[in-house]
Symmetry: C2
Subunit: 208 residues, 2 copies
DNA sequence: GCCGAAGGTGAGCGAGCGCTTAGCGTGCCC
DNA sequence: GGGCACGCTAAGCGCTCGCTCACCTTCGGC
């Protein structure tokens, strides 16, 4: 059996690590509800209903509604960081690694837009402690991209005026894909990934 | 007297068109509350309290809480469209007009991040009719940017593979500024505008 | 000086919220 | 096959929500 499964929207949802089964069903239901209506507009009754359970069942597996968001956010950010790290640490020129990072990061945001939307846009609904933990993961994502840019500048591949600002812009561009991407639109996640990799290489002065 | 005033955060808020005075105070209070906590997490008691009025006073000037969001959204999108149109229709090369559009659009999203955050990220909280009206305004924003790109391609200034995708990416990059920009950060709105104008010119193959 | 319109308030309604609790069925251990 | 831990449900508590309503002030017109 695979650790990934498909939701109704054709997305890949790697929630295999969440056990037991009832806890995973509740978490998947919460991701869908949060993505559709936002954290504050989602009720615990709605989450439990989507998972085919009574409202009280939620509290057997999670202490509060916020704990659900926290778990989703941590798993999502960990996955995002892993994607960037894999691309950053592979072999190849800085341009190849940057293109790989951007295209795979964008593919994740487009293909898993339901999860990505929750992960990227519901951060402010977390309490201070949980938010601090997630913000630390974000800074690591930032560091991975900045590292590739610095490598490319050192090797003469890239021409970048403001490393910090360009890093932010690259990540911002990728993240915002989750906001506008639709599976009914004219592009597949792969196509957006390829388009964005090209745009980013141009931004750093590395286009052929 | 000017039609623009300053909020506590040093932002420009052109709400002079909203009358009478009590209605404007309520609207400004709603913008701040929605930006801080999101539409659904904001209570009508909070909005009225910020405006120094009782909860019931809100309903003298607005039929529902959603009408407040609708008015804010329409005014904000109209202003955004006006900014893009002004840049698009001035004289100059396509590169100059694109740089102007991006830098002024970004300045608006950074300087008026409170308003921009509500305008750009609370769209889904509107009902179907109101949302349709706002989406139409967005499409006009899209058309302005695409128009500049097509002019630049026709004149040979730009080298763009996918006009539709690049238009979307340019707008996405600018809009997302409202999500991450902070007045306490290392940049002024002007600096981000200049940085982004440079990045976008590179994206369309027009950098010097 | 009386009157009605405009703009405000305090109290509170019905609904729905996050979450709790008492108790029920089921399978596992001995 | 009796006891019990576990996963779950039905019912509902205390609270706060968006919104309403009866009433109060202020003020210009005559």
């Amino acid at each position: 059996m695979s650790t990934a499964e498909e939701t109704a929207g054709g997305e890949v949802a790697p929630w295999g690590e969440v056990t037991p089964d009832a806890a995973r069903r509740l978490l998947v239901a919460a991701v869908e509800a949060f993505a559709e209506r936002g954290y504050h507009a989602t009720t615990t009754r709605d989450i439990a209903g989507r998972a085919g359970m009574s409202p009280a069942a939620l509290y057997i597996h999670y202490k509060t509604k916020e704990e659900l968001l926290h778990r989703i956010s941590r798993i999502g950010h960990t996955k995002a960081l892993e994607i960037l790290r894999t691309a950053s640490r592979r072999e190849g020129t800085a341009a190849e690694r940057l293109a790989d990072a951007v295209s795979s990061f964008v593919r994740w945001h487009a293909g898993g837009r339901t999860t990505a939307r929750v992960v990227q846009y519901e951060l402010d609904s977390l309490g201070p402690d949980a938010r601090a933990e997630i913000v630390a993961l974000r800074r690591q994502c930032d560091a991975e991209v900045r590292g590739i840019l610095e490598d490319g500048i050192a090797s003469g591949e890239f021409d970048v005026l403001d490393v910090k600002g360009t890093t932010l812009a690259v990540l911002s561009l990728c993240v915002d894909v989750a906001r506008w991407f639709s599976i009914d639109g004219p592009w597949t996640p792969d196509e957006v990934g390829a388009l964005y990799a090209d745009l980013v290489l141009r931004m750093v002065g590395a286009s052929k």
